[in-house]
Symmetry: C2
Subunit: 204 residues, 2 copies
DNA sequence: AGCATAAACGGACTTTACCCCGTTTAGTAT
DNA sequence: ATACTAAACGGGGTAAAGTCCGTTTATGCT
């Protein structure tokens, strides 16, 4: 009479063929990305190379940007691993302030390494690029801010702003040429800038 | 024998018909925007309604995002007027710190009022949305930072980061629903957050 | 095993951004 | 006025994103 569903929120697990195709498409996309760059990656091309229908590609990822978001998510998982369980100061064990600085440095490196994917993951019609909703980055920063005892301040808003200060330069303002020619110096300048910013913000 | 050009850099003034069509297209675009919203504004539709060829539209604006960038530029001119020549604390006359705070507040208001255009002006393949190169916003923040005597710090990088902290939330992270339902409160929260952030950063 | 059903698949179709190039015209020099 | 030229115009053509819907298949139940 009653149906033993897996509660209301879980819309039944992903079907096996769907999983297989999703992984296959991601792998194929990585291949094309490595060979030809992000702007040459078309939905038709991906479908053909993966030997699947175009409808399948859209069903899996919804939109072109969705593919890059999925790729980014994937790589971000390894990064999060380090943040959550890795050695300090990035992982737990160091002081919140040191972790915050280390996090920024690590994230800058990650974003520079993934700049092509990260840019392509931006949508314009959608708010946030990767992550389900509030980006992990923002949550982590919010948490560390909470552990540092700042005077009365709206930590939620501050976390959003600091996340933007971290991601914005690489996602919005730095041109591609700034990154290809002297990526290493740029990375160091931004990482250092982050450290200065955080130390100023968190000064007692 | 020699031709009295207007020096090398100036590629000859814009032709009269070009100016006329550009203004006409911008006006038409504003009309369509007000009636139907940004995502319904297509290049073909604009060309037809303006009674011009599609080629002309692309020649003027280069890309779809270019139209929104032009509209934003246009509105930003009035805003800059206030910043450069208006009354303090936004205009000159107040202390740099007060101007910085006032600027952030004003810009948040401007961006919320122009959120649809500003989002549509984002490109993805291009670095910065509006303004010719480094956004005016960034230059202005950079200048005010220079007038505040902070300890040794890379002001160029800091300016980029603060610009991102200001624009990022509205361009990247806040979903449309956050803005339509309680735009006024959101505006106040972000503006207050900016003030807190700046006061922290600029504390002696 | 056989069945029911929701999900996944595929590929034709539509829409839209953007390109190209032959034609027209504003601006200038004679 | 006339001729010349660089720029602007127009609209058909191409490619790629995204939609639709009829067909196929995995999965859970009897």
């Amino acid at each position: 009479m009653d149906r033993p569903l897996l509660s209301v929120g879980a819309p039944r697990a992903e079907r096996a063929d769907a999983v297989r195709n999703r992984l296959h498409l991601l792998a194929t996309a990585r291949g094309m990305l490595a060979e030809q760059g992000a702007d040459k990656l078309t939905m038709d091309g991906l479908a053909e190379r993966a030997d699947l229908g175009k409808g399948t590609v859209f069903r899996r990822f919804g939109t072109r940007a969705g593919i890059f978001q999925a790729l980014l998510d994937d790589d971000e998982r390894a990064f999060q691993e380090q943040v959550l369980y890795g050695p300090p100061p990035l992982g737990p064990g160091a002081s919140p302030l040191d972790r915050l600085i280390a996090y920024g440095r690590a994230r800058v490196g990650f974003l520079i390494g993934h700049r092509e994917i990260a840019r392509a993951a931006l949508d314009g019609s959608q708010p946030v690029p990767a992550g389900s909703q509030t980006p992990i980055s923002q949550m982590h920063i919010r948490m560390l801010l909470g552990q540092i005892h700042l005077g009365a301040a709206n930590l939620d808003v501050l976390a959003v702003q600091l996340t933007a200060a971290l991601d914005g330069p690489l996602l919005l303002y730095l041109s591609a040429s700034d990154l290809t020619e002297a990526a290493a110096q740029t990375e160091e300048r931004i990482a250092q800038g982050w450290q200065d910013l955080i130390q100023r913000v968190c000064r007692p």
